[in-house]
Structures are given as structure tokens and as C-alpha cells.
């Protein structure tokens, strides 16, 4: 590994503007003459909308426009099901559902106008519990969807019945996860500006500027995707939550109707009750084993809470159902999933895309199995892990894998054997592992232009020797575009500090699906690497002419083109560009590998897969049930680290975010009403909660990755919940947390249950 840039620690390229407060987030964007947009949201979980009277609001001085079902078309949208409208039509289906929206001269006027809108509701019975929703005769969330079932599947693969018949031992468990928010610190918002030619510019804290046009803006507004120019403002955190941003639609519709620019900023309370938080799920597991600890088969039954509208929920449930089967050599499986509509906030994707929930359940179950078989939990995993070259039960092709190395590291660093032997009396350790995609072909069918999951990059060198990278793949703040800059810097021999990567913009940048499914480093990184190679060739060709030396006798070092044999013959790249008389650029395109899954969900959804193992040491107060995480140790296989500082930051941030989810978060819906409305009742980890974290990387040098790299964002969060729960189990001599979060009450209940 002789790379100059790749693998070393670098600050993210926009760190200086961020620490000095110069970064422009969406709420900081100035649009002269902009109106303020606000939404009227349903106060009821479920009600028929009999009448919406906006006349008094429209008459209020300063109000430009009021939108509702009365003056907007019935054009439903949705990624998997077209089940959501811009404004509620016959019914409201959750507390927070958009009933109307106002654009006015200022916020006070806009809010006053909301209070003047008269909505006549006929309150209907609330369908809050997913199991009640499945009962015959339950009220229907969508009148046309029988049984409230948004999606279901039943897959049998391998000789599953035989696996259970011939097993030496079988185990069964049930787990329940909670509704938790992405809780980025920047509340969501978008701005839009209608232009007299009918086109609309949109700005916002978006994960994908391209996709928001195709699945939401264009179909609802009856326009073509090209009519929108969408520009990303740097998101103040996203974590999955800013993929599906209805604020963009609100701003664009209000702007078109008012023929003026509109800013639509959500308050934190609105964000907590009306975005798309992490899906709650109920998982039943049965597994069959040989006495030596070999997994023979598993049965999984899932009831997943869709909430009021579907968005990406069917895909999330699919991820929950199948993913952990690919981490271990699983000979047979039977999987049933049911996705259920309820009158609760629509659930959605958050970092992990269901894998946090799935990994919590399966990896907790594994420790119960290890206990039952009398095996060490780390040994049980090491015996069954998938390996490089494997094709999993579901068709996943494992191109690189260092999960066993990661686990051995955690075992070594945590002094596992000694601490496991000592366990109990309120002190314990546990670990858990995960597998994750680096991009997912399934999304390209539902969201992309076709089934290829393409990414493109343009690399432009200017006359001052600066380099700008255009990629349709966005940065959510964790340094994805910095990774692109380091890759291009490595390829081109131009110092990192000469690179700029502007936020994504459909107006001039090449297409990219955007930031989700841990796809940017692999897919966007490969596209940019190809573009940088092209730009380097073009620079050398131009320099060859200017310097009268053949291109193959030139190299680029520290931003200068040098003759390899005569280093004193050199020319700065900016000078080369000036000689050419224009910008020198390169282009690259990369198509993700893998398949679109068949109807039975068989196939290889991603080019390659990433892995991690997290270990946690906890102290449990046996009297109060309070759990303290004393330390976390983890190993990750991101293929290859591109930026060590950024990779470490991903891991540390993922671990604390996961710990926060596991131990303190929850929107706690009660009959459809959410409790968490601000950061004093929706608690997230503070500096006081952050445990010491030790970690390292195990580089499997992926054959498809740029310099061997694959995704890291989601393997950084997936296993920590189970690691903590397994440590609690060890500390308490068998208290198993079957419902999240790990509150003192639940720990005490589990301790009591373990005593019986």
C-alpha cells in the first residue's frame, strides 16, 4: 500500500467553513421576497375530512395562498405504493398528516392563517396496534387495503422442515423494537422558487436531489422531472430521514401557486411528529442447531409497523427479514413478513435500513443459543460466519469479508475469555456482528432511471490548478464528498487542499441516486476515480504538447506535471490548463454490480458487502435496573479505509447513535399520539452519555471497491444494540431484553424473569 493520500487521516474538506459557522444550511439561505410556508397538520390519528374551509385564512392580509384538497389535484405518490397525497383528501391517517398549507408574508401571519382554517372532521376509531390492525373486522387505515396489509411475503428456502426435524437443539425468541427518530439537529426544511417560464428551483437538506424530483415532485405536480432544478444545501444531519422529504413538495406547490419564492421550514416538533422515523418491528425467531454449534436452519416471522403511508417500508421489511441470513452459513430458512398499516406516523428508513432491528433480534437470539448449547458466543459466531467466496442461501456473493478478524480483535482487546469467565454480579460483556450492503440494486428499479444503479462523476481542473468534482452523490456531513476528493487527489497527484466538491445540483451535475444504502464510497467513489483517471490523461496529453515531451514520459507530483527523467522540467497543472485555453476535465461512469432480486427475493442485491463486530462492557445496577455502558470495542471491515479520520468518525458516531437508540430514545406512541416533541422528551445521547470507544479496521481489500473500499455508514451502527443487550444478559446472569429501549424498568423485569 504505497498510496500518498488514501488510508491516511485527513480533515473533511469543508471543515474550516463549518467550524467558523460559514456553512449555509437551508434555514440560512436568503431568497429575496420569500414567503413563509407552514402546514396545517391533523390533530387526529384517524378521521374523515368532511370539509376544509380556507376562506377566512385566504382573506387575512399578508396571506398569498392557501392550499388544501380543495384546490390541488388528486395525484397520489409513493415509492412502493402510491398511497399518499400532498394534502389529505377523504381521511387523515396520522397526527401530523398535512391537511392544508399557507404561504404568507411572515411566519406570524402564516400561523395566524392556519388558525383560521376550519376543518370538519368525523373522528374514526384509531388503529394503533399492528396486531389489532390484523384482526378481522379491524378499522381500515386505507379503505381499499383489506386487512391493513401493506405488503406480505412468505419464502421457504432449503430443506427447512428437515433442518428442524433433524436438529440436535432448537431455540425460539421474540423481540420488539420501538419507533425512533433520526434526530438530526437541523430541523428539515426546503425552499422553492417558481420561475415565469413555469420551471421551479428547489433547495433543501436532501439526501438525493435527483430522486426527490422523480418520485415526489414531478408526479404530484404534473410536471416533468426536468422542470425542477434541485440543489442540495448541506444537511445538518440526515441518517436516512432526509431521503423522503415532503417539505420539498410543500415549498414547490406553494411557490407555484403564489408565483413567489417560498421557504418551508419545519419546527423540531413538526419534524418529530411528521417525518419518517425508524420502523418498529416485531420479530419471532426459531433456529435449529447441531450440537457442535453449526446452524441448520431458521424460521423468522415478522410483523412490521408501516404507519399511515408506505414510502420505502416494504423494502425495509425485506431487509429486516433476509439480511442476517447472509452473515452466517445458513442452510435453510423460512421467512414470513407482514407489513401493517396503522394510524401512526409513517415509519421509514434510518441508518441501517431495518438492519439495526434485524441485527438486534438475531444477535440477541444467538447469545441465548450459545447459552443453551453451552458454547462461547464468540466461538459460536466464528464457527458460522460467511467467508469470502461464499454464495449465501439467498444468493448474496461475498466478494470480501473480514468479520472473523474483527471479532477476534474485539475478543482480544476486551480480554473476552477472562471477563466472560468472571461475568455476572452486575458486570458483563457481550458482542454482536452484522453484514450490510454497499448500495442496493432494488432501489434502482423503484427509484432510479433503470435497473443499473449508475453513478457518474466529472472532474474539472481550472487555470489556477484547483479541481472541482461534480458528482450526483451527496454528502450528508460525514465526509462522503471528501472521500471523493481524496480518491481523485490520489489518482491525479494534486494536493487534497486544491479540491472542491460542491453540494449536489440537478442543474449541472451528472446523475447519481444519492446518499443511502452505504453506496457513496463504492459506487460514487468508483465513478469519481474513473473521472479522475480520465482528467489525468487529458492533463498529461495537454502537458505533452505544451512541454514537447511525450505524455508517457510525464507524471503529476504535488500539482506539477514533471518529466520523469528530468524532474527540473515541470509545469504547474494550472499553467497546463492556461496553455490549453480552457478547463481540462475528465468524466467517469460506474455501474453497480449485483442483481435485482427475483420475486422470491433471491439474488445478489449489492456489488459487495461490509461487516462489523461491536463489543460492549456494561455495569447493571441489580436494584434499580440502570445500565451503564463502560466501554465499547469494535472492529469494522470497510474493505479499505480511504480517510482514516473520517472512518473513525463514522464508527464513533454510529456507535453512540446506536447506543442512544438502544437505551434512551423512543417516540412512544400512545393511541396514535407521540410523546417526543422536543429534545427534552425525545432524549438522545449527550456528551455525558458517550462511552469510551476503542476500534480498528480490518481491510479486506474489496475487488470492486475504489482502492478496495466499500461502505461503512451502516455497519457502524447495526450491532451495538445487540452487543449492549448481550452484555446485560451476561452481567445479570440471564436477563434478556426482548423489547427496546433498554430502560431500567425493562431490565428489572428481565432480571425478575431470569430468576424464575
Amino acid at each position: 500500500m504505497s498510496e500518498r493520500v488514501v488510508g491516511r487521516p485527513h480533515p473533511i474538506i469543508d471543515a474550516a467553513e463549518k467550524v467558523s459557522g460559514a456553512t449555509i444550511f437551508i434555514d440560512d439561505l436568503e431568497l429575496p421576497g420569500a414567503l413563509t410556508g407552514v402546514a396545517l397538520r391533523s390533530p387526529h390519528p384517524h378521521a374523515r375530512v368532511l370539509n376544509v374551509d380556507t376562506s377566512a385564512a385566504e382573506r387575512l392580509p399578508g396571506v398569498a395562498v392557501v392550499l388544501s384538497k380543495n384546490n390541488t389535484p388528486d395525484a397520489p405518490f409513493g415509492i412502493n405504493h402510491k398511497d399518499e397525497a400532498a394534502f389529505c383528501r377523504e381521511k387523515v391517517r396520522y397526527v401530523g398528516d398535512e391537511v392544508a398549507a399557507v404561504a404568507a408574508a411572515d411566519e406570524a401571519t402564516a400561523r395566524e392563517a392556519l388558525s383560521l382554517i376550519r376543518v370538519e372532521y368525523e373522528v374514526l376509531p384509531t388503529v394503533a396496534d399492528p396486531f389489532a390492525a390484523l384482526e378481522p373486522g379491524a378499522p381500515l387505515v386505507h379503505d381499499s387495503v383489506a386487512g391493513n396489509i401493506a405488503n406480505e411475503f412468505h419464502i421457504k428456502r432449503g430443506a427447512i422442515d428437515e433442518a428442524f426435524e433433524k436438529a440436535d437443539a432448537t431455540f425460539a425468541d421474540e423481540f420488539h423494537t420501538h419507533l425512533a427518530h433520526q434526530a438530526y439537529i437541523e430541523p428539515t426544511g426546503c425552499a422553492a422558487q417558481w420561475h415565469p417560464d413555469g420551471k421551479i428551483s428547489v433547495w433543501g437538506c436532501l439526501q438525493s436531489v435527483f430522486l426527490i424530483r422523480t418520485f415526489m415532485l414531478a408526479p404530484v405536480m404534473g410536471m416533468s422531472a426536468d422542470d425542477f432544478r434541485v440543489t442540495q444545501t448541506k444537511p445538518g444531519g440526515a441518517f436516512g430521514g432526509k431521503l423522503d422529504v415532503k417539505a420539498a413538495l410543500m415549498a414547490a406547490m406553494l411557490s407555484r401557486a403564489a408565483e413567489k419564492p417560498v421557504k418551508f421550514m419545519m419546527s423540531l416538533e413538526e419534524d418529530l411528529i411528521a417525518m419518517r422515523p425508524r420502523m418498529p418491528v416485531h420479530i419471532s425467531l426459531e433456529s435449529a442447531w447441531k450440537n457442535d454449534g453449526a446452524l441448520a436452519g431458521k424460521r423468522v416471522r415478522i410483523v412490521a409497523e408501516n404507519g399511515a403511508y408506505s414510502s420505502l417500508s416494504p423494502a425495509i421489511m425485506s431487509s429486516i427479514a433476509l439480511r442476517t441470513d447472509n452473515l452466517y452459513k445458513t442452510p435453510a430458512a423460512e421467512i414470513q413478513g407482514r407489513l401493517v398499516y396503522t394510524n401512526i406516523i409513517p415509519s421509514g428508513q434510518m441508518r441501517g435500513f431495518g438492519n439495526v432491528q434485524a441485527t438486534y433480534a438475531w444477535e440477541s437470539h444467538l447469545d441465548n443459543v450459545a447459552d443453551g448449547l453451552g458454547l462461547d458466543p464468540a466461538d459460536l459466531r466464528l464457527k458460522n460466519y460467511t467467508e469470502k467466496g461464499d454464495v449465501s442461501l439467498h444468493g448474496w456473493k461475498i466478494a470480501s469479508c473480514a468479520v472473523a478478524d474483527a471479532t477476534r480483535y474485539v475478543v482480544r482487546e476486551m480480554d473476552w475469555k477472562a471477563k466472560r469467565a468472571r461475568g455476572g454480579k452486575g458486570r458483563g460483556i457481550g458482542l454482536a456482528s452484522c453484514i450490510h450492503v454497499s448500495g442496493n440494486k432494488g432501489f434502482s428499479v423503484e427509484l432510479g432511471p433503470d435497473d443499473t444503479d449508475p453513478s457518474s462523476g466529472v472532474v474539472r481542473v481550472d487555470e489556477e490548478g484547483g479541481v472541482e468534482i461534480w458528482s450526483g452523490e451527496s454528502d450528508l456531513g460525514q465526509g462522503a464528498t471528501s472521500v471523493m476528493a481524496y480518491i481523485a487527489s490520489e489518482v491525479m497527484g494534486i494536493p487534497v487542499d486544491r479540491f472542491k466538491v460542491p453540494p449536489t445540483d440537478t442543474g449541472y451535475m451528472p446523475f447519481g441516486m444519492g446518499a443511502f444504502a452505504s453506496r457513496i464510497t463504492l459506487i460514487g467513489g468508483n465513478a469519481v476515480k474513473l473521472a479522475a483517471e480520465d482528467a489525468r490523461r487529458n492533463l498529461l496529453d495537454a502537458a505533452a504538447e505544451a512541454m514537447e515531451i511525450p505524455a508517457d514520459e510525464l507524471e503529476i507530483v504535488e500539482g506539477e506535471v514533471r518529466a520523469k527523467a528530468l524532474p527540473e522540467r515541470k509545469m504547474a497543472v494550472g499553467e497546463v490548463v492556461r496553455r490549453v485555453g480552457s478547463v481540462v476535465e475528465g468524466e467517469g461512469k460506474w455501474l453497480a454490480g449485483g442483481d435485482v432480486l427475483d420475486k422470491e427475493k433471491y439474488g445478489n442485491p449489492s456489488t459487495t458487502y461490509s461487516f462489523s463486530t461491536h463489543g460492549a462492557e456494561v455495569e447493571v445496577d441489580m436494584e434499580t435496573g440502570v445500565v451503564t455502558v463502560l466501554g465499547v470495542c469494535c472492529g469494522h471491515d470497510p474493505g479499505r479505509v480511504i480517510n482514516r479520520l473520517g472512518a473513525e468518525g463514522q464508527v464513533e458516531g454510529g456507535v453512540v447513535q446506536g447506543m442512544s437508540y438502544a437505551m434512551m430514545e423512543g417516540l412512544a406512541p400512545l393511541e396514535g399520539h407521540l410523546r417526543g416533541k422536543n429534545f427534552h422528551d425525545y432524549l438522545i445521547a449527550t456528551s455525558m452519555d458517550a462511552p469510551p470507544i476503542e476500534h480498528d479496521f480490518f481491510e479486506s481489500m474489496d475487488p470492486y471497491g475504489p482502492y478496495g473500499a466499500k461502505g461503512l455508514a451502516e455497519v457502524a451502527i447495526n450491532p451495538i444494540t445487540a452487543a449492549i443487550c448481550n452484555a446485560v444478559y451476561h452481567a445479570t446472569g440471564g436477563a434478556r431484553i426482548r423489547t427496546l429501549p433498554v430502560t431500567p424498568e425493562r431490565v428489572l423485569e428481565a432480571i425478575e424473569e431470569a430468576r424464575i
Binding site: P11, K18, D27, I185, G237, G646, G653, S687, M688
Partner: protein
């Protein structure tokens, strides 16, 4: 609606504002262009709007602007700009203590206030000093490292 005229200085610039009684310092600062002071929870929970009010770190969302009449206010840009970074800012860059950057202006202000009061903080002091600043990206570890390093840098700078 009645308005009051108040005066204060922000990062050394004198400002005269017509304000309404219920307007918060956060809303007023953003209204006149100090958008580096971030608006998030408006309930004193997240710390993204932290500023120094006569040298004391406060959440600008919990202060009525009228209360700041005659005060000196320092925002993150008063602590340091790209061309003239404070050690806390330099070390946040170097140690990787910044990701999305939304909480960072508040972190910088709180860390400066902490180091002004306690030039040699322990890890626990730093944890406490930043307890009012939520960060969702970093897991805090690199922020702690940055503040420690900034303290060392300031001490060395002072000795020289």
C-alpha cells in the same frame, strides 16, 4: 405591535435593532444576518444557538433580545473565522471533531467558554462543559480530543 429600540455589539459590531418584546435573541440575531447562530429546538435543549453574552455561554433561544440590551455578544464568528481560527476551531478540524457542522458553532462557543474558565480541563470537565450541546454525528469522542488538544495548544501558545 409595540417595538423597542435596543443596542448591543455582536463580534465587535454595534447593532441597533427595533425588537418586539417576545422576540428571542436567537431570532433577532438571525433576522439581522448572524445566521451562524443555529436554530433547532428553541427550547434550550440542543445548544446549537449558543453565544457568549458578556463572556458567558447562553442558549440564545432562552434569552429575550431585550435582555441583551447593552451587552457584548460573541458568536462563533467572533471566536474565529476561516482566516483566523481559534485553537478550538483548529483542533476540531485536525482531530475530526466536525461532521455535518450544524452543532459546531454552538460547540465552539461552549468549548471556548469552558477553556476561558478552566484552561486545563479533564475529560470529565469537557464532558460536563459540553453537556448542553447535542451532536448527532460524531459520538463526541473527537470533540473531546479536540478540546483537550486546544487546551494544550493555548497553554503552549501562552508560554511562548
Amino acid at each position: 405591535m409595540s417595538t423597542y429600540e435596543i443596542k448591543f455589539s455582536v463580534n465587535g459590531n454595534d447593532e441597533i435593532l427595533a425588537v418586539r418584546g417576545e422576540e428571542t435573541l436567537l431570532r433577532a440575531l438571525r433576522r439581522v444576518g448572524y445566521v451562524e447562530v443555529k436554530l433547532s429546538c428553541e427550547g434550550g435543549d440542543c445548544g446549537a444557538c449558543a453565544v457568549l453574552l458578556d463572556g458567558v455561554a447562553v442558549n440564545a433561544c432562552l434569552v429575550f433580545v431585550a435582555q441583551a440590551d447593552g451587552c457584548e455578544i460573541t458568536t462563533v464568528r467572533g471566536v474565529g473565522t476561516e482566516d483566523d481560527l481559534h485553537p478550538v476551531q483548529e483542533q476540531l478540524i485536525e482531530k475530526g471533531g466536525v461532521q455535518c457542522g450544524f452543532c459546531t458553532p454552538g460547540i465552539v462557543v461552549s468549548a471556548k467558554a469552558l477553556l476561558d474558565e478552566n484552561p486545563e480541563p479533564t475529560r470529565e470537565d469537557i464532558q460536563r462543559g459540553l453537556a448542553g450541546n447535542l451532536c448527532r454525528c460524531t459520538g463526541y469522542k473527537k470533540i473531546f480530543e479536540a478540546v483537550s488538544a486546544a487546551a494544550r495548544q493555548m497553554k503552549e501558545g501562552g508560554d511562548s
